[in-house]
């Protein structure tokens, strides 16, 4: 699915200049609500947000390697995200 839109929030609503990680959580191809945790390169907790009603989430972070972990009733899933530079946007799709 290289190049496919991951289904995160509307990028035009990102605060200018922020380094952003965002995306959508799905189960069986459908958006699902729950929580998303952001872990740093050592696996340490950095932040957590509830998803929107359509499974979307957004973090303002910094450049580097991160793990994004989705928690939904009855399941969890991790994805590794690399943010190349300050001010960049990384989109990530998480299927639980």
């Amino acid at each position: 699915m290289c190049g496919a839109k991951a289904g995160g929030p509307d990028a035009s609503t990102i605060k200018p200049g922020e380094t952003t990680i965002q995306g959508q959580v799905t189960k069986d191809g459908e958006p699902v609500t729950g929580y998303v945790r952001l872990l740093d390169s050592t696996g340490e907790f950095t932040a957590e947000v509830p998803t929107s009603a359509t499974g979307q989430f957004r973090f303002y972070a910094a450049e580097g390697t991160w793990t994004v972990r989705a928690l939904i009733p009855g399941g969890t899933a991790d994805r590794t995200v690399v943010v190349a530079e300050k001010g960049a946007l990384a989109e990530v799709a998480i299927a639980v």
Partner: protein, 279 residues
């Protein structure tokens, strides 16, 4: 003090939803979360509008707290059960705040709103009505509240526990990663502080780790709990959770929460600041 004196689990709350002797109170960072839905019969306290002075940077005074709790239908002998999002950050803050004004009969819902949601338990939109009371608060118990001068005096002398994420501690970020990066004038941490992120106290579902796991955590991080301790974060809510762990779960005396936290300390003129990771 045992865990059951300060914590209840979701099953206990489920069994007590209609008990008029208790008040279930949601306190969220996202103050609109309650409007979407909440635990049945829960009322809301808004940490920005209800708990802060509208002009000065400080809490509402004793009289203000009396008015607030009276209007919310909470009496002096009401058992208050607090819960919220963000792994109970703001519910812990409200717990500490209730203790600050002398309300003893208060407990946290272990895991807060997240555990309740991950258990797929019922949430409703209906807002309950509680009859008004005449609440009497006590003067602030500043034995559990630290101010900026206490923090400066504690450098190298007491335990300073910085509970923010490692990137906030080192100076890479100024605020948690889900919030815009603004606030204090300078990044970094108070010299001699140990970085023990609040998240190490909790499981993924937001419940607290066991007493043995928590004792081991602070021992491993070389925090001598025989000494006085000040916990801080960015605005004092995550550190209220660590205060809860140390003071309420582990029964450590002389633990204070610094609610001014990094947004105050990182904007003070002339105080020492350190950059870099935990040593």
């Amino acid at each position: 003090m045992s865990r059951s004196d300060v914590l209840v689990d979701a099953d206990w709350v489920q069994d007590n939803l209609d008990n008029p002797e208790i008040a279930i109170v949601e306190v969220d960072e996202d103050t609109s979360a309650y409007e979407k839905n909440h635990i049945r019969n829960a009322i809301r306290i808004d940490w920005t509008k209800d708990l802060q002075d509208p002009v000065r940077r400080d809490f509402i005074d004793q009289e203000g707290f009396e008015k607030l709790l009276s209007a919310k239908g909470i009496a002096n002998d009401t058992l208050v059960i607090l819960y919220g999002g963000n792994n109970n950050w703001f519910a812990s803050y409200a717990y500490w705040y209730f203790k600050l004004y002398g309300h003893e009969n208060v407990k946290l819902l272990d895991g807060g709103r997240k555990k309740w949601e991950l258990d797929a338990r019922e949430l409703v939109e209906e807002v309950p009505a509680r009859p008004e009371t005449t609440y009497k608060a006590k003067p602030q118990n500043t034995a559990i509240r630290a101010f900026r001068d206490d923090v400066v005096a504690a450098i190298g002398a007491q335990n300073l526990v910085d509970v923010r994420s490692p990137d906030e501690f080192s100076g890479k970020l100024l605020a948690p990663a889900h919030l815009p990066q603004e606030q204090s004038q300078r990044p970094g941490h108070v010299p001699t502080a140990r970085n023990i992120p609040w998240s190490k106290n909790a499981n993924d579902d937001g419940t607290f780790k066991s007493d043995d796991e928590l004792k081991e955590l602070y021992a491993e991080e070389q925090v001598d709990l025989a000494k006085d301790t000040i916990a801080y974060c960015r605005i004092g809510e995550r550190s209220a959770l660590t205060w809860f762990v140390l003071h309420e779960l582990l029964g450590v005396e002389n633990v204070k929460n610094y609610d001014g936290s990094w947004t105050e300390y990182g904007s003070l003129v002339g105080v020492p600041i350190e950059l870099g990771a935990n040593k």
